[in-house]
Structures are given as structure tokens and as C-alpha cells.
Amino acid sequence: MANRIGVYVCHCGSNIYPRVDSPKVAEFAQRLRGVVVGRDYKFMCSDPGQDMIINDIRQLGLNRVVVASCSPRLHEKTFQNAVLRAGLNPFLFQMTCIREHCSWVHPDPVEATAKAMRLVAAAVDRVNWHEELYSREENVHPDVLVVGAGIAGIQAALDISRSGHRVHLVERSPSIGGHMAQFDKTFPTLDCAACISTPKMVAVSQEPNINLMTWAEVKEVSGFVGNYKATVRLKPRYVDMDKCTGCGLCLEKCPTKVDSEFEEGLAQRRAIHRNSPQAVPNKPVIDASACRVLNGKKCGVCAKFCPSGAIDFEQREREVELDIGTIVLATGFDTLDPTPLGQYGFGRFPEVYTGLQFERLNNAVGPTGGKIVMKNGQKPESVAIIHCVGSRDVNHHEYCSRVCCMYALKYDHLIKDKVGHATRVYNFYIDLRCFGKGYEEFLRRVQEEGVTFIRGRPAEVTDQALTPEEEGKLIVIGEDTLLARTIRVPVDMVVLCTAMEPRADVAEVARVFGISQGLDGFFLEEHPKLGPVSTATDGIFLAGTCQGPKDIPDAVAHAAGAAAQALALAARGKVTISPTVSHIDPDVCIGCKTCIGLCAYSAIEFDARRGVSVVNEAMCKGCGSCAGACPSGAAQIRHFTEKEIFAELDGLLAPVRIPVTEPEPGTAGAANGAEETETAEAQA
């Protein structure tokens, strides 16, 4: 029986038509072999548009459908469902893109229309070979893996665990809380960060549905949506978590001191350490690179003083395997190291601080006990805050880090509040971006406190004084672009608002989880607007700043979104798996096993009895490595078979030349068996 194909060409309002002459394309399609009806419509994706397809299937007995409209990435599902509603198998449908790849990028209407016709012809030729395919359902493991226990990971884990699903929360550092645990106050409400985050941290440790693994990393992930398997590496803590009471005696006795990462290098910690008295879990860890015993020297002071005998130098790295259904990534961000920006003198001048260091200076449990003082113990008389260090800068990160304006304003207020109102505070900014709830009001409040705002990115921070009042100060040199005047501002202290950037090992993490990075290096979401928490890999979701710079409210909202998405899968318990996987025809297979060596998922096995390779469809992801290499053509990806691709190429290439060149007699197009009558195309 010949196929009865319906072709539908969309106008997409004015997005496709008139650049691409949709009625003419529909008319052209009507003359293609097998096409029963060719129609154009203003919005094919609208209800009347879909009804048009459904009615035609029912009344004209169509058994194949082609829609030419936007990218299949947007509306393929919409039309597949429409086709399904009319009782036709959704895989007997083909969509071709004449908007993103045609009307939007080709300014010449004649060329755009001609190309649209070729794309439609290709889709029509291809759809002839489509086969009925049926999706299968797989169970979804109810457990969820959350990677990273900063505020985003904590939020996601708590949201999921409250639903009754079990959460495995993996954190790389010895305690949870992430960057937020380092902060003192949060903008714009000036809540203390610890006051609002520690209850959540404690809730995580007490929630029976959360399996918290700190000092641990996800090493490998395998499987597919609903059925992932993760290998988690538990680093040796050298402290028995069950015996340790968290009394902290060892922290006082340990003789080895190194720079503290948590204090951003402003203070020292012992080899056995914990971040703060509020750390969760509140049990220390021994730094193997600094500990004397672990480096073959004599010591063991901590073990000697530990009242509960919790120190265990014999601990070894362990690995655990977890079965999970979905994964939420909340791996966070790093801050830019401003040392390479030599002009700001970070690392050369002791009174130049990064934003995070200044945060620690403010913190009540920080190196100065919350006092804003210089290294000599004196209060600063004047402070310069330089915005956009490494952000909005083509030499570093083009993007805006989104939080610096607001935390700079917070510092403005805190300096005025803690050091005294007479302290002069200078903000060097490019633009003030105070876009969130209550942010603009906070800016107004800080402005009223008498802070100076200078528009312009400073050129340099120097200690070379030109006048007596600059003596002994750091001089910020820049241009006030509103006054068009160069200025020199002598200050006691400089704070650099450094950019948020992707974690140093982001590429490795992306590889482990099989997801992509965007141009800026952060993890790539499925869609920048409508899919901000999902990724191109089903069942893996993003939470917080691993997807891009965010402030706390946005990170928390993003995490709650990721939790909801993961839960949607976990709660339903079933997931539909696409049938577009590999199939090896046992009658054609010669048993060469080429495909077995190529399969990245070990989804192909050799059936020795029949002498053929067999695909395990549950493990196959349909990448087509086997089909691309099969010497006999036995391996084919369903919906991407050799016949379908060949037919698509036939339609795409016949006739070969687009109308602007002279017609070629006896062209290859004719030689390839494309026999449609397409003379009308030249007038397109």
C-alpha cells in the first residue's frame, strides 16, 4: 500500500512566513510522491493547527505526517502527541526545521523558500521509511543522589527527604554548608548567615531519610534515567565518626599549623581541624598532607589526648556503590583568584582583600572575632571596594557575577556600622545592579548612610604616594567616568569583589555525570529559559551556582526546582524510554563483533550459539556507534536507519543545484532515483 502523507507548513506568526513562502512550500509538497495533502497554517502548534492534522488523519486516512515549522527540539513532542491522539504511531511523524535553520538566518526570501522546499522534500522522503515504534517503561529507583551540600544541595536534599524519599547527600569537604557557612551577614536583610543556615544544616544531619556522606566524592556514574549507579569514594578522615564526641580537645593540642582554607588564608588551622564550632558534622578531620604521623614523623598527640579513643591512623579510603534513580548536582562555584590581576596588588599589599576574606573578617568566629581591622590591629579610616573584579571583563569572565553589587553594599553598611560612621567608604563600580526583592531599597539605605560611589573601573592600586596625605596609604587610581576626570583615592584597605567562576574541576565533574558545560564553563541547562534546572541527560538536574552565578534566594529557588523535578520522576516511579535504540538483524549479522568493542555502554553481547551480536535494549542509548561501524549493515538505530537517512539525502539533494546557478543536464540528482516532479522549484 502506498503511503498517504500529510505535509503541514507553519507560518509561525510572522517568524517563518513571509521570509519562507509557506503556502508555496505547501503547494510544492502536494506534488511530492505519496503526499495526499499539503497545508499551511499560521500556528501549527496551536490547538486548531493540531486539530487540522488530527482531522486529516481521520478523514483522509493519512498514515504519515510531516510538519515543517520550528526546531524539533521545541515541538516534536507536541506533534507526536497530536498524531498519537489521532490513533497513529507517533514515530510515523517527521519534523523539519524551517525557522531556526531557514527563515531566521537566510535574509533572501527566494533562497529561504528554496531551502525550505528541499528540507520538506527530505522529510517526505524520509517519513516513507519510518516504522511503528513503541516506547518502553522502566522503573525509577526511588532514591535520589544530591552532590554538594552547600545551601542549594541542602535545600534540595531537605525538600526531597521530606517527601519520604531517601537522599544520598555527598559533600566533598569535611562539613556541609558550602560558601554560605563562611558568610557573616546576608543582603539585603542583614540576617546573619549562620542563624539562617545552621538550622538547615542541623536538619540535614538529623533527617533519617538523608544519608549524609562528607569528605566524599562521586567517582563514577553509570546507568540511565531511573536506574543510575554511583560509586562514591569516602576519603579517610582518620577520626572514628562513631566514637568522636566533637569535644575539640585535639584541635587545641595538635602541634602542626597550616593556612586555613575556610578562613581564606587569613588565619591558621591545625592539621586536625574543623571549619567552625557550628560545623555539621561537628567532628574533625586530619589533613593527611600536614599531619606528622601520616607523613612518617613522630607525633600522635591527638590520639594521646582524645578522651574517646577516636583517632584512627589506620583508616583507608573506601568506596560505596549507590543505586539511585535521579541525580541533583549542586556543586557550587569557586571565586576568582585575583593574583593574576597584578594591577590591584592582591598578594603584594597586605591590606588588599578578596570579598570572601572580608566576609571572614566580619564573621564573629572569623580570624578577628568579627572586628574589621587591618593586619596591624588598627581600624581602617577609609576603605575602597572595587566591583566587577574579573566579571564583565573580556579578559576574564564576560558575564556578570550577579552578587557583587549587593555584597559590596552590604560591606558599605557593615563598615559604617562596625568601624564607625566617620569611616570613608568608596565604591568603584561600573553599573549598580540591584534587581532583587528589597535590593533597590537597600541601595537607597546605603546611599543615605553617606557612602561614596565612583563610576569607573580602577586602573591600579598602588603604594607610591605623590602627596603627604597619601603617605602610608594604598592609592586607588582610576577615572571617574561621570566627571571624566582621573582620580587618586588614598585608602587604608581595599576589597576586591572577585568573580564567581566554575569549580576548577568542573570539566571532570561534567564528564563523570555525562553533562555539558556552557561557554562560560558552568554546567549547561537544557534550555536557558524554560529548562533551567534540567540537563540534556535525563534524570540529572542542576541546583544553584553550578549552573551560573546566583545569590542565595535564587540558588535556593533553583534547588527547590531541581528537587521538584527529581521528585516528579521518583514519585511516579516509571519513566518512558525512547525506542530509538540499536537493533542488530540476526539474519544479516556476520558475528564480527566490531560493534561489541565500540559500544560505550557494554550493551551488546555475543550470542555464541547463533554466532551473532545481540543488543541489550535496556542498556542501549541509541548513540549509533555500532550502526556507524557495522560492516554488514546489520546494526541499525531505530528511527535513524540507513534507509531513512538515504531517503532523507535523496530528498535533500534532488535536484542538486539551488535555482541561482544554471541547471545541469543529467545531474546526479536524477541518477540517484529521485523522481519527484520538481520543476516548479526554480520559480520559488
Binding site: 526546531s71 524539533p72 527540539r73 526545521c97 525557522r99 531556526e100 535553520h101 531557514c102 531566521w104 538566518v105 537566510h106 535574509p107 533572501d108 533562497e111 529561504a112 531551502k115 528541499r118 528540507l119 527530505a122 570539566a507 561534567a510 564528564r511 555525562g514 555539558s516 556552557g518 561557554l519 549547561l524 540534556a536 541527560t537 530509538t580 565500540l598 560505550a600 555502554y601 542509548k621 541509541g622 548513540c623 549509533g624 556507534s625 550502526a627 556507524g628 561501524a629 538505530i637 535513524f640 540507513e642 537517512i645 538515504f646 532523507e648 539525502l649 535533500l652 539533494l653 534532488a654 542538486v656 543545484r657 539551488i658 541561482v660 546557478t661 546526479a668 540528482g669 541518477a671 540517484n672
Partner: protein, 140 residues
């Protein structure tokens, strides 16, 4: 004399380059209309015979484009494509087909501008190279 307008078939992977092409479209990056896309799930499924079929069918060049090395949605399909294209080029050269008529590139999902540039550059290069002779040279 009229300008030569090459016909180019592009096999692009669904996850990276097809997405990049969508992005280039959304951002209205003007491209030569000579390149026609065939959506594949992965460059690893591009059988060399598809490339040959396109060349024999009258395409003046073939572009294969997928995810950057290490970024493949299917772990390593793009590496398989790379090996396959290298071999294919050697064979094609042996048959007198200019190897520049088969191009392999990596264009990531967020690189819309990169995609538009790749398309426009390739069209210019092939325009300079002249019409492909493959379809006339060989009869199947």
C-alpha cells in the same frame, strides 16, 4: 558570470551542533543557505556511506559536526567519528576527491556564533574549490 552556489550536507549531532544551529537561528545569525542539516543522534552514527551517498548524490561538500572532544553525550561517539573521517579522507583522496570536501568540526551546544561562522567559512571555501566532481566521476 554567476556565482557558484555549492550544496553542502551537514550531519550534525542532536546534542551539540544541532542545538548550536538552533541557537544561531534564535540569535538571527545570518548564514549562507547552502548548508542543509541532517539531524543525527551522534556523529558516531555517521556511517561513511552516508558521506559517500551525499557526495555521489551531488553534494559539493559534507560537514560532520558534533560535541567537543570529551563532551560527547554518548561518552566517546565523537572520537569514533574522528577516526572514521580520517580514514574516509584517505580513501577519498585516493579516488581523486579533494579531502577538503569532507570537514569535521566540533561545535558545542552553546556556540551559536561558532556554528554560523563554520557554515559561512565552509561555503566560502567550497565556493573557491569549485563544484564537486564526485557525482559525475563515479556512477553507481
Amino acid at each position: 558570470m554567476e556565482r557558484f552556489e555549492p550544496t553542502i550536507v551537514a550531519f550534525v549531532c542532536n546534542w551539540c551542533t544541532y542545538t548550536a544551529a538552533d541557537l544561531a537561528g534564535t540569535a538571527r545569525m545570518i548564514q549562507s543557505p547552502n548548508v542543509r542539516l541532517v539531524r543525527m543522534m551522534c556523529t558516531g552514527m555517521v556511517d561513511p556511506k552516508y558521506v559517500l551517498k551525499a557526495l555521489l548524490g551531488g553534494a559539493d561538500a559534507v560537514l560532520i559536526s558534533g560535541c567537543h572532544p570529551g563532551d560527547c553525550h554518548y561518552i566517546n561517539g565523537n572520537y569514533k567519528a574522528r577516526r572514521r573521517v580520517k580514514l574516509l579522507k584517505e580513501i577519498l583522496t585516493g579516488f581523486g576527491v579533494d579531502e577538503r570536501r569532507v570537514k569535521l568540526t566540533w561545535v558545542g551546544a552553546s556556540e551559536g556564533n561558532e556554528f554560523a561562522e563554520t557554515v559561512n567559512e565552509l561555503v566560502e571555501d567550497i565556493r573557491e574549490l569549485g563544484p564537486g566532481e564526485t557525482s559525475r566521476m563515479m556512477v553507481i
